[in-house]
């Protein structure tokens, strides 16, 4: 696919190193397992660094999403049949890579009766069996807010339950598809209220979509009202000219300001800088709260 136009001049921090050798090594390790990583599917800027350090975030339930959010680079398209071997393959990949922490996410599967929840559960079970020392973080869809699906995930006891708010309330309808601010907040609240105390609850937002300070603080307050533990804040990078238009490369000072505002509000861990993604260096959060 040809790039249609050169977008806004990219800031210096968006310069990343790329080692073909390290990426090849990761691809070799994953070959034969028929797995998708959100790193590759979403063209993550951190791919080179994460693959280089032997880590990846796995995206289950196929490469095609049933929703078409305007910020997201994961393809919207006809969903594929569920691969029943996938949970085992994710666990085998985690074992091969020697991951101490794994992030498992998925595309939205509004087409499935269980909305994809069972595949998360099977993946958690396979990981517990094959690599029991690995801590598990799930980054899930909203499951349309259906508590019977959330109950399944809660019962599987991931170490971290992550569901992204993505942005402030006013911008949500402009960038998310079939997802609402209220539903996402309700999902996080439900999991926080019903999950074991061993499961931390996490969310993340992007900056640069046109949000205002007061809206970001309101979002933080909404999250702390329901006792959310972890918050990640990173820069939106427009995937292509067809996606939601980038409003701003947010200056570093604002990330620092938001970090302090989040700290004051009592989040247990905050990651706030341009290249932060929900799964980027996720294990450091757990290490921080476990005091390791």
């Amino acid at each position: 696919m040809k790039q249609e136009s050169k977008q806004q001049e990219k800031p210096e921090w968006l310069k990343v190193t790329y080692s073909q050798k390290k990426v090849d090594q990761m691809n070799t390790l994953l070959s034969g397992l028929n797995l998708n990583t959100v790193c590759a599917e979403a063209n993550c800027p951190n791919l080179g660094e994460c693959f280089g350090s032997g880590t990846a975030a796995f995206m289950i339930l196929g490469p095609n999403c049933t929703r078409a959010c305007r910020f997201c680079d994961v393809p919207h398209g006809h969903p594929r049949p569920v691969d029943l071997a996938e949970p085992l393959h994710v666990a085998q990949a985690a074992k091969r890579l020697g991951l101490s922490h794994i992030v498992v996410t998925s595309v939205d599967r509004d087409d499935l009766p269980d909305l994809g929840a069972d595949q998360f559960v099977q993946t958690i079970k396979a990981l517990r069996q094959i690599t029991p020392e690995t801590t598990i973080e799930v980054l899930t869809p909203d499951f349309q807010g259906k508590t019977e699906q959330l109950d399944k995930i809660i019962a599987a006891e991931p170490d971290v339950f992550n569901h992204n708010m993505e942005t402030v309330r006013s911008i949500t309808p402009k960038v998310r598809h079939r997802a609402t601010y209220a539903t996402s907040l309700r999902v996080l609240q439900y999991v926080k209220e019903h999950a074991s105390t061993k499961t931390f609850v996490k969310t993340g937002i992007m900056l640069g979509l046109g949000e205002k300070d007061a809206e970001v603080y309101q979002l933080m307050d909404d999250l702390r009202d329901i006792n959310i533990d972890f918050l990640t804040i990173g820069q939106y990078v427009q995937p292509s000219a067809k996606h939601y238009q980038l409003r701003e490369w947010v200056p570093l000072e604002r990330y620092q300001k938001y970090y302090h505002e989040a700290k004051i509000r009592g989040f247990k861990f905050i990651a706030s800088s341009p290249l932060v993604r929900s799964s980027y260096k996720a294990k450091e959060e757990l290490l921080a709260v476990y005091g390791k």
């Binding site: 040809k2 990219k10 190193t17 063209n43 080179g48």
Partner: protein, 81 residues
Amino acid sequence: MIKEIHMPQLSAKSSQYFFGNWSKEPGEQVKRGDILFEVETDKVVSQVESQEDGILKEQKVKTGETVTVNDLVATIEVSEN
């Protein structure tokens, strides 16, 4: 021995990129892991590392040009041993 350096696939979604700045000039020593050039994809500016030790012989692409995956980008003279 002359080794050809071809454009790597930097993004799963696209095969054409904007070529950025060269970090090495012809005649300069290049070590494995040194940044050789920059390429701009939709989301990032990737600094591509050399996989070879040697002397950069030729730059085959200029800053600002569009490059396609597998295009010849440079040649490096590597020592026989």
